[in-house]
Structures are given as structure tokens and as C-alpha cells.
């Protein structure tokens, strides 16, 4: 995504404040967890500003490779990574530069310098944004994996790390659904070769095959009685396998 997604109520509010702040000669700090759109929002507040990673800016100021006299506004990414925040901010203030910064968490010490403070909520609180991102990531994944046909969009979304985990979960799900039997055999072969560095015990490696088999069987046939019938094994043996592999019966 190359712009801030604002379809949910919470993100619309955040975008509104960012837009209002863009017309003001005030400094702005944008806080929030990783991958929630802070950098895109910073561009809304200061559309013409160049973005600097905190340490890169620090180095540029130290090495005098940046001409602060020619800059009106600047974006500092992850300002908390600066060694001496107050020193850098003082220099920028002296040069009358509007500063827009991002950070993962708000600190009271930011208050005196940053007149505007915007907190971007995590994706777990932005259902409409997640839905939009999901569709976009699915399109991207289909393009990357060269999939033309419709895919099952019933995906278990992982929002624990916002857009990063969301994208990963979608890509993984689509990739896994597109795998053929030969792909899985090849993947397992590679995996086992790697796993042999840790263990070559047949008993320890067996769950890799049995757990998915038991889980899928349970989903398909609902009861162990039916599973035993279709798996063509004894019901007691099947039950033993459930217990050994700690799969919920």
C-alpha cells in the first residue's frame, strides 16, 4: 500500500487529524505499533517532506551532509532510535523546521516539542481496513503465485503484527492452497533433510505426517468411529494416535 488506509471509524478520525495538522506550522508525533501505517500518515502531515530513518538523520547532521537551511519540513522515522532526541530536535527547532516523527510508543518527554500527537490504532481495531487490506493482499498474492482462478477467501487472518502478519497469513494460506501432492512431497523431503540435523528418530518425526492426517480426518468425518471406518484402521488404534499426538478428540 502506498497510502494510509482509512475506511474504519478509528482510522478516519486519525486521517482527519493528520490532514488538519498538515496545514499547521506545528510539530507532530505519530505513534502506534509496527505496520499500522504511521509512515504513510506522516506523508499526509508533511507531503513534501523527505523521510529519514532516525539514525541516518543523526549521522547526516553529525557529518554535515544535510543542509538544514534549505529544509522546511522533515519526517523522522522511529525517532525513539535517536541517541539524543533533544539535541537533534533542538537543532531542527533552531532552523525553524516542521518535524513530523513516528515512534512505537508515546513518551511524556515528546509533549513539549510535538504540539500535535496522533495515535494510530492497531489493525485489530480497524475491521473495515483489514477487509480492504485482505482483498489487496489476495490480489497481490494471486499475481505473485500466478493464480488465475477464484480462491477460497476464508482465511485465518493473523493480526498479531498488524499488516506484516496479515500479509504473511494471506500469502501463506494462498500458497498452501495452491500446492500439489508433488509440491508437498518435495517440501516434506526438504524439511526432513533439514530436520535430520536435529533428529532422525522415526517416532519423533511421525507426528509431522500423523497430526495433519488426524486433524483433517476429524474435520471431514466428525467422529472417530467414522474416521476409523474410512481410514481402515482399528478404532482403538486411532484413539491411541489422537492421544499420542495430543490432537483434541
Amino acid at each position: 500500500m502506498d497510502s494510509f488506509i482509512a475506511l474504519s471509524k478509528a482510522s478516519k478520525e486519525v486521517l482527519k487529524i493528520a490532514t488538519l495538522t498538515s496545514s499547521m506550522p506545528v510539530n507532530c508525533i505519530i505513534t502506534g505499533p509496527k505496520a499500522v501505517g504511521k509512515n504513510h500518515l506522516a506523508k499526509v502531515v508533511a507531503p513534501n517532506a523527505k523521510s529519514y530513518k532516525a539514525q541516518d538523520l543523526q549521522k547526516a547532521i553529525k557529518d554535515k551532509t544535510i543542509d538544514l537551511n534549505t529544509i522546511n519540513e522533515i519526517i523522522i522515522l522511529d525517532i525513539h532510535k535517536l541517541d539524543s532526541i533533544s539535541y537533534i530536535l533542538e537543532i531542527l527547532e533552531e532552523n525553524n523546521i516542521k518535524v513530523v516523527a513516528t515512534a512505537t510508543a508515546f513518551k511524556d518527554s515528546y509533549k513539549s516539542f510535538f504540539q500535535a500527537q496522533i495515535e494510530v490504532p492497531p489493525l485489530s481495531k480497524r475491521a473495515e481496513d483489514v477487509e480492504f487490506l485482505k482483498k489487496e493482499y489476495i490480489k497481490e498474492a494471486k499475481r505473485v503465485f500466478l493464480i488465475d482462478e477464484e480462491i477460497d477467501e476464508n482465511i485465518n487472518l493473523d493480526l498479531s503484527n498488524n499488516a506484516i502478519s496479515l500479509k504473511k497469513s494471506i500469502f501463506k494460506s494462498i500458497l498452501f492452497n495452491s500446492l500439489t501432492k508433488d509440491d508437498i512431497i518435495n517440501i516434506l523431503e526438504k524439511f526432513l533433510l533439514k530436520e535430520f540435523e536435529q533428529t532422525s528418530s522415526y517416532k519423533e518425526l511421525l507426528p509431522i505426517f500423523e497430526i495433519p492426517l488426524l486433524r483433517a480426518g476429524k474435520k471431514k468425518y466428525k467422529s472417530q468411529l467414522q474416521m476409523a471406518k474410512y481410514f481402515e484402521i482399528n478404532r482403538n488404534t486411532l484413539r491411541k494416535k489422537f492421544i499420542e499426538n495430543r490432537v483434541d478428540e
Binding site: 506550522p25 513539549s112 500527537q117
Partner: protein
């Protein structure tokens, strides 16, 4: 010599007024003119009578009174006949903030946007009832300093569940900045609970705003400067 005395009174920082016995203003200095734009002459006359000496002569009393945005710590009331009454009020130093503009820091600022940003900073979890005069133009302010001040004022209401916010122009009142008169804009923040931010007077230093704290509210008054 008489001219020197008269001019000294005229340029005194404290308001000086001579009333007749019908509470009509006969003479006043520049500072009194400003005071009389804030309160009516009769009100001031009645107030002064409380401190008048029993018989002819002059009486100084220490008081603690606020007429609109000015605090006074003493009053002198005197008369030499039944016709005229002289009154002088003494301004408290802490509120006698002289307003001036550092033009290089003034930016045309949308007050509504500024208020929204300040609410988002501090009060986004409170219920806010807004009574904002929608007709206010963009105002020349030291935007950074003013937003810092608003943040400080709103911080005092951080624990309030319901806040009333009003923004309006005060009728028939002016503020003098660099010898020019401007209409007064008043932002009032009101709630049942205030946890006063003690840094407010510090925060107001770089602004042209005056701060008044009342029992349940804080009022920020500032000149409506539109053009430099």
C-alpha cells in the same frame, strides 16, 4: 507643573477616574478608558463608594478584585467636596501582562482545526459538547505556542467525563496589542472536575493569550488579529 501632573496621570499604568455625584464619568486616563470598555461606570462607582472615606479626604484600601480580565490589589478613593469623586485602582503585577506580537512567529491559523487537534491530543476519550461560533475567521497566532497552551488547558480536564467548550467573540470588548485594538476571542472550557495544570501561565508566555481560572472552568482570551 500642572501639565506634568496631568500627563503623569494620563500615562499611569493604573486606571484613574473622576466621577460626579450622579456616577457620570467626568475625567479618566487611558488605562481607565480600557477598564470602562469592560465594565459599566455605575458598577465601578458603586464599588468605589464602599471604599470611600467617611469624610473629605483620601482613603487607600487593599483589595483583591477582578474586573473582567484584570486583577487589582488596591483602590484609592477620595473627594474634597460633594461634587466629585476620584478613584484609582492598582493593577496586580502578575496579570498586568503586556501583549505584543513577535510578527515572525505569527501564522494565519484556523481555530477550529487547532481545537480539534488539541482535543485529539488530550480529550479524545471525553464527551465534549461544543458551542463554537462558526463565523470566526483564521486568526494570526503563534500556532505552536498557542497549541501548547491549549494542550495544557485541556490537560486540566483529562479526567472529566463531560466537557463544555465554547468559542466566541466577546461583545464590546477589545484587547490592546502594540497600541492597536483588536476584538477579543474567548475560549471557555468547563467541566465538573478540574485538575489544574500548574504550568499554564508558563505556557501562555509566548502567546497573546490571557488565562482565567474560575471554579469549574478555564477561559483563554486572545486578540482576534486577522492582518498584520
Amino acid at each position: 507643573m500642572n501639565s506634568l501632573i496631568e500627563n503623569s496621570i494620563e500615562h499611569d499604568l493604573n486606571p484613574f477616574i473622576i466621577f460626579d455625584s450622579n456616577a457620570r464619568v467626568i475625567k479618566y486616563n487611558t488605562e481607565a478608558e480600557y477598564l470602562l470598555s469592560l465594565i459599566c461606570a455605575k458598577e465601578l462607582y458603586d464599588f468605589a463608594l464602599n471604599y470611600a472615606p467617611q469624610t473629605y479626604g483620601f482613603n487607600n484600601s487593599y483589595i483583591d478584585v477582578e474586573f473582567n480580565r484584570n486583577h487589582y490589589y488596591a483602590i484609592m478613593v477620595g473627594y474634597e467636596d460633594d461634587k466629585y469623586l476620584a478613584v484609582k485602582l492598582y493593577k496586580s503585577v502578575d496579570t498586568a501582562k503586556s501583549l505584543s506580537t513577535k510578527k515572525e512567529f505569527l501564522y494565519s491559523t484556523n481555530l477550529y482545526a487547532l481545537i480539534e487537534i488539541a482535543i485529539n491530543n488530550t480529550l479524545k476519550n471525553s464527551k465534549i459538547v461544543k458551542y463554537l461560533d462558526p463565523s470566526l475567521p483564521d486568526v494570526l497566532l503563534n500556532t505552536k505556542a498557542f497549541l501548547n497552551l491549549l494542550n495544557g488547558v485541556f490537560e486540566s480536564f483529562k479526567d472529566s467525563k463531560r466537557i463544555e467548550l465554547s468559542l466566541k467573540i466577546k461583545v464590546a470588548e477589545n484587547m490592546v496589542v502594540d497600541s492597536k485594538r483588536y476584538p477579543v476571542c474567548s475560549l471557555s472550557v468547563k467541566s465538573d472536575t478540574i485538575n489544574l495544570n500548574k504550568n499554564l501561565s508558563n505556557l501562555s508566555k509566548d502567546t497573546n493569550a490571557l488565562i482565567f481560572q474560575k471554579k469549574n472552568s478555564i477561559i483563554v482570551e486572545f486578540p482576534l488579529i486577522i492582518e498584520q
